[in-house]
Amino acid sequence: MKTNFLKSILVSFSLIALASCSSDDDGEMDNVNPGQVTLEFDSSFAGNELILGAANAANTNGEALTVTRLNYIVSNIVLVDEDGMEYAYPKENSYFIISEDSNDALADNTKIILEGVPAGEYQAVKFGIGVDKEKYDQGLSGAGDFWDAASAYDMTWSWASGYKYVNFEGGYTTSASGPVGISGEDFKVHLGRASDEVTNYTETTINVPAGSAIIVNEDMAPEVHIITDASALLTAREAVSLEAYGNAIMGGEGAVIVAANVPLVFKVDHVHNNEAGNSSH
């Protein structure tokens, strides 16, 4: 995968600007010596690097995937400290597109930079994948450029108007011993809201490795390296056969099963507690 630094689209809902006439003094936790935290999302495929356009080994369904796109929306980021106290990043600024796309016109987004995080030692990162019902119900209010950015990354639906939470595409072949022997079929897995009852929005909490912490203060700029296992989208909790769903999972039971897999595909690989102004790697 590409490892060069790629500008993260920090697409923020501009609710703050709209609500500009009201005071922001709402009794938030004291924000002493705040620092910056970078979340870097690094895609893998069953323990190996994810290389777009290159075939991977067959999964438990005997399907060998070649991924061309793995885009998803990360939202509602919360950092949890050693005492279980939570710092929720301001919701209006907490929607991000993470992308690795074989369309070269679209710059990859792999980093989320959180500014003004209260000093502390954090042990876990909690976030949503997709757009929660509360945000969806706000419609375009405060959406700013987020809808347009999502649209550019093919993260919106127009026929069923709303956001795609995950856009996972490529091709696959079944193993030679497989009963059907499909070769070179394209697949599309698009996850999003089916209805008010079936939102398919999920959240996950991932701990930092034992013995480490995300150390935040005015002198530190930690980087949290998160591994996203693309393979696990179809296997983590329950195996989903692309062939069984006609190569396209965009709703229905298939999407519900994938949505249950989604929280399990992320893990914190390691944390760099960098001094502010320095960046490792």
Binding site: S14, I16, A17, L18, S20, C21, D24, Y136, D137, Q138, G139, L140, S141, G142, A143, G144, D145, W147, D148, S151, T156, S158, W159, A160, S161, G162, R193, A194, S195, D196, V198, M250, G251, G252, E253, G254, A255
Partner: protein, 335 residues
């Protein structure tokens, strides 16, 4: 951000004038579902929305506006068209639904393709057989079209010509389009009497129709398979296409019956030319299937049994739902 906030409060520098508009909600209507706190109505916002509703710039050819298929005198439907024609005379597969009482709905389009009014216009704008355009292009065209920069600046605090404000303005306009002044409403408010046959029709309606066509909106907003024989050429599975669940196949949103006399043809595919045909269908032509609505299944009898006399009375009642005030309201007209 703090600086922005302060600047935002000193209005008028850039032409922004916030004249709030209070939405008048009829007492016998259900709760407003649209969140007016997030998108507060203003005179300029509504007026911008009206102008956008009638602007062909939303289509790739510049010729098809929202108002092209949503004509006011037919309660904002496309009268006489089974399916509406979009750009280059391409034809869709569903009958144009009315634009009325949008502030009270939970889901939009026949299949509930979106659950938020703000997102609704994206569907016709981007659909190939309707406007065949992208939202990005629409915004670019508006930026270059005379007058719009000023109108957006007057309507929104940040004044931007962007997709957010474009869709918020359209929502503001549509939210104000309330139809609540039909003879039925005057009857509910004890301002007029029903004729004997209308009275009889109301009683029959409450007995046979109101479990789905509920509330003052005359729809419970649910998705149901009402037993139409699917048109094999279209094989439109309706709600099932949106959710992907087989249990939703062939279900469509229960339509409101307000202004029903002027919104023909009827059903999601516009197959029936008259209300007589609709009631005759429920009486004798409902087709069984796995997802047929249970309310249309009484032991071995399918549908809703009516006599010819009862159908006349029900239609007399349905005619009291025509709201001429709404159909002629200049606030909603192309100027």
């Amino acid at each position: 951000m703090t600086l922005l906030a302060i600047v935002g409060c000193q209005n008028n520098d850039d032409g922004y004038t916030n004249v709030s508009v209070e939405l008048e909600v009829p007492a016998h209507f259900p709760e407003v579902t649209y969140n007016l706190t997030n998108n507060p109505l203003t005179e300029n916002g509504i007026e911008l929305g009206r102008k956008l509703f009638y602007d062909g710039a939303v289509s790739s050819t510049g010729t098809i506006s929202c108002g092209s298929c949503h004509e006011q005198k037919y309660a904002f439907t496309h009268h006489g068209h089974t399916f509406s024609h979009g750009v280059n005379d391409l034809e869709g597969t569903r009958n144009t639904p009315p634009v009325q009482n949008m502030a009270f709905l939970e889901n939009f389009a026949w299949d509930g393709a979106t659950g938020h009014l703000d997102l609704f216009p994206v569907i016709p704008i981007t659909t190939e057989v309707e406007m065949d355009e992208t939202l990005e292009n629409v915004i670019e065209k508006l930026k270059n079209k005379s007058g719009y920069k000023k109108l957006f600046a007057e309507a929104f605090e940040d004044g931007e010509v962007n997709s957010e404000n474009f869709l918020l303005a359209l929502s503001q306009f549509m939210v104000t389009m309330i139809s609540a002044d039909a003879k039925y409403d005057k009857y509910i408010n004890n301002q007029v009497q029903f004729t004997e046959v209308e009275q009889q029709g109301l009683a029959l309606f409450e007995q046979k129709c109101a479990s789905c066509h509920a509330t003052a909106l005359f729809s419970d907003g649910s998705f149901r398979n009402n037993g139409l024989q699917p048109n094999p050429k279209l094989d439109d599975i309706g709600r099932g296409k949106v959710t992907g669940f087989v249990a939703d196949n062939y279900k469509f949103k229960v339509p409101s019956l307000r202004n029903i006399a002027v919104t023909g043809p009827y059903m999601h595919d516009g197959r029936f030319g008259s209300l007589e045909s609709v009631l005759a269908f429920y009486n004798e032509a409902v087709v069984d299937s796995e997802t047929l609505d249970p309310l249309l299944r009484n032991n071995s009898n399918l549908g809703i049994a009516t006599t010819a006399e009862e159908r006349v009375a029900i239609i007399a009642f349905l005619n009291t739902l025509t709201d001429n005030t709404f159909l002629k309201d200049e606030r909603f007209s192309e100027k």
